[in-house]
C-alpha cells in the first residue's frame, strides 16, 4: 500500500456539488477505472479518501487536494491521472499526483479570487472599496455550541489585490484563514461586501487558487 496526493479542479457546474456528494462522485469515478484503490478491511470495506479542505458550495477550486491509498505499489502515477481524466465529469479535472509532503491539518489559509458584477449596471465598486477601507466588515458565524459569534473579516484579510476595477464590476484576490482550526467562508465575506445590494442583481464567482501553509508557502 502507498499513499498519494492528487490535485484536481472543481469548476463550472461542478462547483455546485456538495462535499458529501463529491466524495460519492469520486469513489464512483475510481470504480470506473482500473486504479487499485485500497479498501479498508472488515465487514463493510470502503475506500480510504482524505480531502485537503472542503470547498463551500458554489465556490470553485483550482487546486483541490485528495489523498488516496493504492493497493498495488507498482501502479504508475501517470496512469492514475490519465485513468481518472478518462472517466471524470465536466468541471472536475485531475492535474497532478505526488507523494504527500505535509498533513492536511497544516493548511491554514486559502488564496482566493473573487469577481463581482451587477446585472442592472449599478455602481458596486465604490461601496465595496469603502467597506474594505473601513476595516470593519462584520460576519456572523455559528459556533459549535450554537452561539452566534461576530467576526471582523478585516482583522484576518491579507494580500487584498485588485485585478480589474470598473463601476459595475470588481475583480480581486485575497487571502483568508482556511483550515482545521479556523476558517472564514469567502461567501460570508462576499455577502458582507454586498449587503447593500439585492442578491438577484449580482453575479458573483469565487475561486480558491491555492491552499497555504502557515509560512505562506503552498501546501503540497
Amino acid at each position: 500500500m502507498r499513499s498519494v496526493r492528487i490535485w484536481f479542479t472543481k469548476k463550472d457546474t461542478a462547483k455546485y456539488i456538495s462535499h458529501l456528494d463529491l466524495t460519492r462522485c469520486l469513489i464512483r469515478a475510481f470504480r470506473r477505472t482500473d486504479i487499485p484503490l485500497w479498501y479498508t478491511e472488515g465487514f463493510n470495506p470502503h475506500p480510504h479518501l482524505v480531502f485537503g479542505l472542503s470547498l463551500p458550495l458554489g465556490v470553485e477550486g483550482e487546486c483541490e487536494i485528495l489523498d488516496i491509498r493504492l493497493d498495488d505499489e507498482s501502479y504508475p502515477n501517470e496512469s492514475v491521472i490519465s485513468e481518472l481524466n478518462r472517466v471524470t465529469v465536466p468541471g472536475i479535472e485531475f492535474l497532478k499526483i505526488a507523494e504527500p509532503q505535509f498533513k492536511p491539518l497544516f493548511i491554514t489559509s486559502g488564496l482566493y479570487e473573487m469577481k463581482l458584477s451587477s446585472n442592472d449596471g449599478s455602481n458596486i465598486k465604490d461601496d465595496i472599496l469603502n467597506k474594505i477601507e473601513s476595516k470593519n466588515i462584520l460576519i456572523y458565524k455559528k459556533t459549535k455550541k450554537g452561539e452566534i459569534k461576530e467576526i471582523n473579516v478585516s482583522e484576518h484579510l491579507t494580500e487584498f489585490n485588485i485585478i480589474k476595477s470598473e463601476a459595475n464590476e470588481l475583480h480581486f484576490s485575497f487571502i483568508l484563514p482556511a483550515g482545521n482550526d479556523f476558517t472564514i467562508n469567502p461567501i460570508l465575506f462576499k455577502d458582507a461586501l454586498l449587503e447593500n445590494f439585492a442578491q438577484e442583481n449580482i453575479c458573483w464567482s469565487i475561486k480558491r487558487n491555492k491552499l497555504l501553509l502557515k509560512d505562506g508557502t503552498e501546501f503540497r
Binding site: 455546485y16 456538495s18 470506473r32 468541471g91 438577484e200
Partner: protein, 622 residues
C-alpha cells in the same frame, strides 16, 4: 455552460446540483443537427424522478437516435419555483437549459395520481397553456404534450390537459410517435392533423378526438370517437425483453437520490393475481428476460456508472423461473467487484432456504413481507395466497439466520373487511414476536422489532375490485383507532397512511373528465406536490370539488354495477371484463384463484402479445 440567468439564482437554492445537469452520462447534443427535441418530465422532485427506471430506458432510447435529443426535467422544489417565477425563468431542460417551449414534444410520466397537479404546474412554469385547446393550431406554437405510465390505465382526469397519451410500454411506441411528429413537423402540418394521424398509431390515445356524454345520475352514457379515431385503444406490449432496447449506462446523479444504484428489470407482469393490485394486472402478460441478457447488461451498466449496488426489479422477484441461476451469475462478477446485489419484492411463500443462503453472501438488508391482511379469510378474498404458517415459518428461518427486524405491510379497508380482520393484523404481528422468542437459536442479547406499515385500500381500474367502494374517511379512521388500541407489545410499531391523501387518490384513480376542472382549480389555488405530507392541502382540494359541484363520494365511496360504462372502458389493457367480474365474484366468496403457472385463469392479456405469455409456455413445458 449554464445560462447567466439560471447561474445567478442557483446559489440561492437548496441542493443546486439538481438543476445544473452535467452529470456523468447525461447526453448533450448539438441542437443544429437535431430534428426532434423531447423533454422527459417527471412530475416530482429530482431525487424521486431520477430513481425511475422508465426514465432511464426512454432517455437512452430516444438519444440512441442521432436526430432526436431527449432531455430531463423535474418539478423544481418550492424554493426554486419561487425564485424562477420571481425572475421569469421558464422551466428548462437539464441538458441544454433551454425553455421547455423550445421543444417539439414534452412527455410526462404518470406514476401516481397525486402528481397530477404538478403536471399542470410544470406546464405553467414553462409558459405552455395547461389546456390542450389553448395551445394554438400549429405544431411550432407549443410542444405536443404527451403522457404515459401506469396512471394512464385511466387517463380521463387529465384528458383536457394532455394532447396524447401513450398507453402501455413505451420502447416501441415512443419512436413511432416521434418519427411521425418529425414527418408532420417537416410538412408544417397543423396540430390537429398530426393528432389525428397519431391516433392511428397503436397505443396512442388522443382524448380531444372523443366525446363523452353523461346520464342524469352522473355516470357515463356514451363515449363517441370522432375523426376516425379508434373506439378502443389497445395497450402496447413489448414482446421480447431480450431484444428490446435497454440502456448501456445510466445518468449518475451528484445528489443522493432515492434509488441510487444499477437497476435491472428481470421480468414484466405478475403470475399472482392479487385482486387489489393494479400493477399485477396492468403489466401482464408475463415476459421474462434471460439470465444471460440480465447479467451481461447489468455488468456493463455497473462498469459505466461505478455504482456499488445492483437491484433486481420486478413485481415479485422470486417468481422469476431461474432466480437461483440468475443470482449465481450476478454474484460471480458482482462480489469480486464489491457490488452488493439486492433483491426486493420477495414473496413470503417461495423464499427458499437455497435463496436465503445466496442472499446471505452479500450484505444483509432488511426483511420485508407484504402480508396485506390480518386473517386468512381476508387474504383469500384478495387472493394473497399465503398462509399464516408460511409467514411464521419464513420468519422462523429468518430469525435463525440472524435477522431481528421484520417489516410487514398491511392494508385496511379491503372489500368484505370486518373488525375481526382489522384486529387480526395485530394478532399476526404478535405471533411473529412470539416466533422470535420461541426460537432456541435466537441471537443472544437481542430483541425483535416488528414494524407494520398499514396503508388503506384504494380501488383501482384494471383490477377485480374496480367496482368496489372505498371505505369512508371516518370508517378508515375508526379502523386505525381500533388497531392502535389492540397493540400491547412494545416490540410492535404501527405506521399509518393519512386518510386524506388516500381519499384523493381514490377519486382520481377512477375519475372521469369532469375532474379536469377540479384539478385546474385546485392547482390555481396553490395545490402542488400532493404526495408530500407537508405540502398536501386537503382543504383546498375539498373547496375545489365544492366549487366545481363535484360529489367526491360519487367517485370514492360508490359501488359501481357491472353494466355501468366506466370512464376507462375504452382503454384495453388486454384483461377482459369477464375475467375481472369472475374474480370479483370469487372474492365475495373468499375463494382463491391459482397462480398463472399452476393454471391459466384466462385473463386475456396474452392477446395483445400475439397469444404469448411466459407463464403459459413454462406451464406447457412441465
Amino acid at each position: 455552460m449554464l445560462h447567466k440567468q439560471i447561474e445567478s439564482i442557483l446559489p440561492l437554492v437548496q441542493k443546486p446540483a439538481r438543476y445544473t445537469g452535467g452529470e456523468l452520462n447525461s447526453v448533450v447534443k448539438n441542437k443544429e443537427n437535431i430534428d426532434i427535441r423531447f423533454a422527459f418530465c417527471f412530475p416530482d422532485t429530482y431525487e424521486i424522478g431520477m430513481s425511475h427506471l422508465g426514465l432511464k430506458i426512454l432517455y437512452g432510447l430516444i438519444n440512441s437516435r442521432e436526430n432526436f435529443w431527449c432531455e430531463r426535467v423535474f418539478a423544481p422544489d418550492c424554493d426554486m419555483e419561487e425564485i424562477m417565477r420571481k425572475n421569469n425563468i421558464p422551466l428548462f431542460g437539464l441538458e441544454s437549459h433551454d425553455s421547455l417551449k423550445d421543444f417539439d414534444a414534452v412527455g410526462f410520466t404518470l406514476q401516481y395520481e397525486l402528481s397530477f397537479s404538478n403536471v399542470l404546474n410544470m406546464l405553467d412554469l414553462a409558459g405552455i397553456p395547461v389546456r390542450s385547446k389553448n395551445r394554438g393550431d400549429s405544431l411550432s406554437e407549443n410542444p405536443i404534450i404527451v403522457a404515459g405510465g401506469p396512471c394512464v390505465a385511466n387517463p380521463e382526469p387529465l384528458a383536457d390537459f394532455i394532447d396524447c397519451f401513450q398507453i402501455g410500454e413505451g420502447e416501441e411506441v415512443m419512436l413511432e410517435f416521434l418519427d411521425l411528429l418529425n414527418e408532420y413537423k417537416k410538412k408544417k402540418a397543423t396540430r390537429k392533423e398530426f393528432l389525428i394521424a397519431a391516433s392511428h398509431i397503436e397505443g396512442i390515445y388522443v382524448p380531444a378526438l372523443y366525446e363523452v356524454t353523461y346520464n342524469e345520475d352522473g355516470t357515463i352514457k356514451e363515449f363517441i370517437a370522432n375523426d376516425g379515431a379508434p373506439q378502443v385503444i389497445n395497450k402496447r406490449v413489448v414482446s421480447d425483453l431480450d431484444n428490446i432496447y435497454y440502456p448501456e449506462n445510466f445518468v449518475v446523479p451528484f445528489v443522493e437520490v432515492v434509488h441510487d444504484r444499477v437497476v435491472h428489470e428481470i421480468f414484466r407482469g405478475c403470475i399472482r393475481g392479487c385482486r387489489f393490485c393494479q400493477a399485477g394486472f396492468w403489466y401482464r402478460p408475463i415476459r421474462e428476460k434471460s439470465v444471460e441478457t440480465i447479467s451481461k447488461q447489468s455488468q456493463k451498466i455497473a462498469c459505466e456508472t461505478g455504482y456499488d449496488e445492483l437491484s433486481l426489479c420486478s413485481l415479485s422477484s422470486s417468481d422469476y423461473t431461474k432466480i437461483t441461476e440468475l443470482l449465481e451469475s450476478l454474484l460471480s462478477w458482482a462480489t469480486p467487484q464489491k457490488i452488493n446485489v439486492a433483491l426486493p419484492s420477495l414473496r413470503i411463500d417461495n423464499f427458499s432456504d437455497e435463496l436465503r443462503k445466496k442472499l446471505a453472501l452479500v450484505r444483509r438488508s432488511g426483511l420485508t413481507f407484504a402480508a396485506e391482511a390480518g386473517t386468512q379469510r381476508l387474504r383469500n378474498v384478495i387472493n394473497k395466497n399465503i398462509t399464516e404458517d408460511e409467514i411464521l415459518g419464513t420468519c422462523r428461518k429468518a430469525f435463525q439466520g440472524g435477522w431481528t427486524a421484520v417489516k410487514l405491510y398491511f392494508m385496511i379497508g379491503l372489500p368484505t373487511e370486518t373488525d375481526e380482520d382489522v384486529v387480526g393484523i395485530n394478532e399476526l404481528c404478535q405471533k411473529v414476536v412470539e416466533e422470535f422468542y420461541s426460537n432456541p437459536d435466537k441471537p443472544k442479547g437481542k430483541t425483535v422489532s416488528v414494524s407494520a406499515g398499514v396503508s388503506s385500500f384504494v380501488p383501482k381500474p384494471c383490477t377485480p375490485f374496480q367496482w368496489e367502494p372505498q371505505d369512508s374517511r371516518e370508517e378508515i379512521t375508526r379502523k386505525q383507532q381500533l388497531l392502535k388500541e389492540t397493540v400491547t407489545s412494545k416490540k410492535i410499531t404501527f405506521r399509518f397512511h393519512t386518510t386524506d391523501q388516500i381519499f384523493l387518490e381514490a377519486i382520481f384513480a377512477r375519475g372521469d373528465r369532469k375532474l379536469c376542472d377540479v384539478i385546474e382549480l385546485a392547482w390555481k389555488n396553490g395545490c402542488t406536490f400532493d404526495s408530500w405530507d407537508d405540502k398536501f392541502k386537503y382543504d383546498t382540494w375539498i373547496d375545489a370539488f365544492k366549487e366545481c359541484g363535484i360529489d367526491t363520494e360519487f367517485y370514492a365511496n360508490r359501488r359501481r354495477s357491472y353494466d355501468e360504462i366506466l370512464p376507462w372502458d375504452h382503454i384495453n389493457s388486454g384483461i377482459t371484463k369477464e375475467f375481472l367480474i369472475r374474480e370479483n365474484e370469487k372474492a365475495k366468496n373468499a375463494e382463491t384463484s391459482m397462480h398463472c403457472r399452476e393454471q391459466c385463469n384466462a385473463c386475456g392479456s396474452n392477446k395483445l402479445n400475439g397469444g404469448k405469455c411466459d407463464a403459459l409456455c413454462k406451464n406447457m413445458v412441465h
